[in-house]
Amino acid sequence: MIEVKELNVHIKGNHILKNVNVTLPEKQITCIIGPSGCGKSTLLRTLNRLIDTTEGVKLEGKVLVNGQDILSSDADVTDLRRKIGLVSQRPCPLPMSIFDNVAYGCRINKMFNKRRQLVYQVQKNLKAVGLYDEIRGRIRTPAARLSIGQQQRLCLARSLAVEPDYILADEATSALDPISAKTVEDLFVSLKEQYSIIMVTHTLRQALRIADHVVFMYLGEIIEQGPAEQVFHNPKEELTQKYLAGAFS
């Protein structure tokens, strides 16, 4: 479980996240929704501390992952990032072959001693995202030659290969064509039994389709959070009602 407590994020003097308190449940799909520029991505990037690479960032508060504060100075960031995978908006294969892309994370984390285990892990995860049969015989060719949709699934396989507990997805389907988007979306649904998935999306319909838990953000603040059923059909806050009704986006 991830608990965010009193989180404030400033980037170059701008107050991006204001006093954020969120609980993200396990083995479910949590969708973070809200209009563009409301801090969804910033929140997501704080969860695996990828935010550290942003210039001029100041963090306050606590983010507890399995009870440990990841913002404290003695947190092991590298290990944290292994436990929390990220699928970004645009697929970004590394400049190497399909096999090496999936094997990369296992190699740098020294997960396996035997090559046979590594090969098995790569195959298992390529199968999990439905790529294995599509790319049979091309596993040694550059990943950049895959189609965009395939690349995105490869990125997902790459994240899964390091055996994370959480998967963060930052509008992971928005750059894809409708059919690929559907495939990736279905994948997330099928993966939620094994992983906790936290997804940023600004297509409400997608959130409606797949979310178990919803967090609604507006201008850097959490307006409402709770089970999808309740937030979508019985929102407590007026702002949420307006947003769901399409008054602003």
Partner: protein, 267 residues
Amino acid sequence: MWIAMLIVFGFVISVIWTVFSKGMKAMSWDMISKLPGGGFYIGKEGGFLNAIVGSLYIVGASTVLGLIISIPVVFFLNVYLKRDSKLAYTARMAFDVLFGVPSIVYGAFGFTIMIYFGLRTSLLGGIIVITLLIIPIFIRTMDEATRNFPGDILDASFSLGATRWETLRVVLRQIAPGIATATLLSIGRAIGDAASVMFTAGYTDSIPTSLSQPAATLPLAVFFQLQSPIPEVVDRAYAAALVLTVIVLILSISSRFITNRFSKNKI
């Protein structure tokens, strides 16, 4: 269009054919393994090992120096400065201008500086001027390769639990073709340039043993021997031209090869 293509191809083939047919006459193992005997202007004996070694010394040293200076500049332009920075814009324009400056101007510039410091023509002078000559090529070519670098790769690598060092290796993999192309382009330009080394590296019959001695180069071996009234010496000039052409050909073919091979993994 076809005529224009034919002219270009005919030109390339006739250049190579001329150099090969005239050069092969005087070409022998001695040519590339012995020092010249009896002066470069009239001497018929020996080879031009001194020019080959001189060229390699100068090109090797200036390539290393050029890389040492260019990589931080490219890094500064792309990582530290913002995309719309005025300084970066001005710097890029300055390098474009320097790119276009004729090599004789570099030679004259180097010569002036050497006089100012009271230096004589030397290997060091040649190295410095060639370094100045190739730095703009290095910077502009590597800059192009780095500028289009997809920043998402950093996120992708970090989010798999990679350290900075491991991520740097991924970055290098992505820009390696750019660096390789830049290096080979620069070497090609550096080794074939006569005008800039004429006043700075000078010419000699021996292989330099220290940085302060003058050094012979292949382009100048062609230049001086071609002016000779003696036919045998003129043939030697063509042999030197042949060696130079072969080196440049090997370089450009291998640069193509390396670029193709490495860039297939590029994004």
